[in-house]
């Protein structure tokens, strides 16, 4: 997931320059970078500022205003616990606690081995199958307090395989 950022400029440049030099495309540029890296490297923000011809401070303010963006790298598996109302009243808070008890991370944090990060999201729009947890692109429906542990185990196994 999180890619090597050592050679960033060459890699980010095509994403940014795919858009015209207009202010209204800033959000889209940031989204594309976020999608590729799972966070916004500082270099990318600088390049966007230069390309769109706006001050760096303005880009920074957008990056911190919109919830979709992160300024720190995410883990290989990004766990998103939906905390929309339907999920909330069906126990999403318990899932967040269970993840903390198991992985030691709170929303917004990443495990030391960079395998998992946790965030809560407002609503994934899948309320009929609440509570919902997404791990990267996979949607897990009707997750129970013991089910979440199985989900973590499954990905932990996968993470281990990749390390070998």
């Amino acid at each position: 997931m999180a890619e090597d950022v050592s050679n960033t400029e060459d890699m980010i440049s095509p994403i940014v320059t795919a858009y015209p030099r207009e202010k209204r495309y800033i959000l889209a540029m940031m989204q594309d970078v976020q999608k590729k890296y799972n966070y916004l490297p500082k270099e990318a923000l600088k390049m966007i500022a230069t390309h769109a011809e706006v001050p760096f401070s303005q880009i920074y303010s957008m990056a911190t205003f919109y919830k979709a963006f992160s300024l720190i790298p995410k883990g290989r598996y990004n766990i998103r616990v939906c905390d929309g109302t339907a999920c909330h009243i069906k126990g999403s808070a318990v899932l967040i606690d269970q993840i903390y008890n198991n992985l030691g991370i709170k929303p917004g944090e990443t495990t030391e081995d960079k395998a998992f990060s946790l965030e809560t999201v407002n609503c994934l729009g899948a309320c009929a199958i609440a509570p919902v947890v997404m791990v990267n692109d996979a949607v897990h429906a009707k997750v129970t307090s013991s089910g979440i542990l199985k989900i973590i185990e499954k990905y932990r196994g996968d993470a281990g395989d990749e390390d070998e």
Partner: protein, 601 residues
């Protein structure tokens, strides 16, 4: 074998987000693969992925036409049986049919036989689950783009008059008459003008816009083109939450197809009218659902709202006249133009015409999307369509209007739902989330939840919202932790009233609703927290302890099996006990106990 029995046969697989999470794409792939192997004679049967059927509870749903068989909770392993029995031999597979819990009968055609469908009236959702959203031909087959053709045959004024006459009010929550917006924009003298579709569905617990954009993207496009024609707009924007991956994909495909079919572009339907639409992905900020904030976001700024003494219809996007309507509003337009304003206005209540789509979720048996005429009562929606409360528990409240709305108690269940009645009882329509709560939902915690949400989403521009919400959130949190004082209630009310009057935009003005409505209808729960240090619903952890009723416990061990932290002990056939030190009060024991033996202290 009958050679022609499969002529025109279709297998529809719901591939909305809900069904996808339950594996519908794999089912779809398996069906497609296995049909191919049937050989040349029978490939006339084809599979189609459709948008959200609304009956997400029973997904993945597979519907076979023209037989009109609906299979529920279909797994990949069921596909060979469906092909062998139903497609080849016209047999109905009983075990895959929905079992009506009331009559205990298996139901072959739910939309004809079940209250869940029978009590609904579909206008905005008319095509969803029936067409392949990726196929413009499917849309055209169901009268798609006919309304646009009709719009070209009448004048711009006539279009606007129709929309005003229909009484259609904005479905995004505010309920402002759509036609008036259009008229006001058309009256401006400056150009260019813009059309925006607000698909930044931010209310937690609501997903009707997602479903429309995923399941019937062309209806949104058609509605917008008709408005462009009426107002003389040149460009349109659909602002969609970036989290809605499938909606984005289907909308983008639909735009390409609409251009190819000459329903968008330089010369629409050969009439010399030019209009085009692009998709803008939202950045995940709730406040961007507010129209002026959304406009700022499209312009490439942070999504802060502005005061609305000048409406977007006069000065909107880049300072130009702009019509901005919600997804569901756009979906109603083609029907109004096609069938006439009078027919539309004959549905609903005096001041709220037509239907409303609700996302019926929470502790209700049939969760999913429902569309009903305005004026349908909450009781009809929750108990007749929704099938009542899960596990036979007691209904406590229904929350409407998202974080801007309020909680409505049992004594108001017979309230006919429309824009005005909901406001009168201290809630609001909002975008259409209906979240059903039962005895296991703590109303103080619900208020805290919404204020928590709003504290994170307040853009911070105006002081009453930024500071007021935070203070209310702090007070509610301490009540939930058992540290509240009786004077907190009065303080909450005072802050709530101030924020309501003084905040800049809709987010702040309505932020007090969750607090005020729960205080109004569930004051006793607040008092239980403050005076008795007790959470009656057993949700607030600091005030909750679970125990097992020794009289009722049969020692079956199911709670032990389901406890995620091994906090329950006991021998088989002997009463179990809960170790309160270990217990995280997740409630899985309460949910799984068949003898009602787990109690809340």
């Amino acid at each position: 074998m009958k050679m022609n029995s499969n002529e025109g046969r279709q297998i529809l697989v719901c591939c909305g987000t809900g069904c996808q999470a339950n594996g519908s794409l794999q089912v779809f792939d398996a069906i497609q693969e296995q049909i191919q192997s049937l050989g040349a004679v029978e490939v006339k049967t084809f599979a189609k992925s459709t948008g959200c059927n609304g009956w997400c509870e029973q997904g993945p749903l597979v519907k076979i036409l023209p037989d009109d068989i609906t299979y529920c909770q279909v797994k990949v392993d069921d596909v060979p049986a469906i092909i062998d029995k139903t497609i080849k031999n016209n047999e109905v597979i009983e075990r895959l049919l929905y079992r009506d819990p009331a009559s205990k009968k298996r139901v072959k055609s739910p939309h004809l036989e079940l209250d869940f469908y029978q009590k609904q009236k579909k206008i905005a959702l008319r095509n969803i689950g029936e067409i392949d959203p990726a196929s413009i031909e499917d849309y055209i087959d169901r009268d798609g783009y006919k309304a646009l053709e009709k719009a070209f045959s009448i004048s711009a004024e006539q279009i606007i008059t129709e929309v005003i006459k229909s009484g259609l009010r904005g479905r995004g929550g505010g309920g402002f008459p759509a036609g008036i917006k259009w008229q006001s924009c058309a009256e401006q003298s400056n150009a260019p003008r813009y059309i925006i579709c607000n698909g930044d569905e931010g209310d937690p617990g609501a997903f009707m816009d997602r479903s429309i954009m995923e399941g019937d993207p062309h209806t949104v496009i058609e509605g917008m083109v008709i408005c462009a024609l009426a107002t003389g707009a040149s460009n349109g924007f659909i602002y969609v939450r970036d989290e809605y991956a499938l909606a984005l994909k289907n909308l983008n495909q639909a735009l390409i197809d609409a251009r190819k079919g000459s329903f968008l572009g330089e010369n629409i339907m050969g009439q010399g009218f030019a209009f085009d639409i692009e998709v803008v992905r939202g950045g995940g900020a709730f406040v961007c659902g507010e129209e002026t904030a959304l406009i700022a976001s499209v312009e490439g700024k942070i999504g802060e709202p502005r005061d609305k003494y000048v409406f977007p219809a006069e000065k909107g996007l880049w300072g130009q006249p702009t019509v901005i309507n919600n997804v569901e509003t756009w979906a109603n337009i083609p029907v109004i133009i096609n069938e006439g304003a009078d027919k539309f206005a004959s549905i609903g209540t005096e001041n709220s015409k037509g239907t409303k789509v609700f996302s019926l979720v929470g502790k209700v048996v049939n969760t999913g999307l429902v569309e009903v005429p305005m004026g349908t009562t909450l009781r009809q929606i929750i108990f007749e369509i929704g099938g009542g409360i899960l596990k036979g528990r007691q209904f406590k409240a229904v929350q409407t209007g998202g974080p801007s709305g309020g909680c409505i108690p049992a004594e108001l269940l017979d309230l006919p739902v429309d824009f005005d009645t909901l406001k009168e009882v201290g809630s609001m329509m909002g975008s259409g989330g209906l979240i059903v709560m039962d005895e296991r939902t703590c109303m103080v915690e619900v208020a805290r939840y919404y204020l928590n949400f709003l504290a994170g989403e307040s853009c911070g521009k105006c002081v009453p919202c930024r500071e007021g919400i935070r203070r209310m959130q702090e007070i509610l949190t301490r009540i939930c932790e058992g540290k509240g004082q009786i004077s907190d209630i009065e303080l909450l009310e005072e802050i709530a009233e101030t924020v309501k009057i003084a905040a800049l935009c809709g987010l702040g003005k309505t932020a007090a609703n969750p607090v005020l409505s729960t205080l109004r209808y569930f004051r006793d729960e607040y008092l239980a927290h403050i005076e008795e240090h007790r959470c009656p619903a057993g949700v607030c952890r600091d005030l909750t302890e679970f125990y097992i009723d020794k009289e009722k416990c049969t020692g079956c061990g199911i709670c032990i099996k389901n406890c995620p932290v091994d906090a329950i002990h006991g021998e088989k056939k002997e009463a179990h006990t809960i170790d309160v030190e270990k217990c995280i009060t997740c409630g899985s024991c309460i949910d799984t106990c068949r003898f009602d033996a787990v109690r809340i202290r």
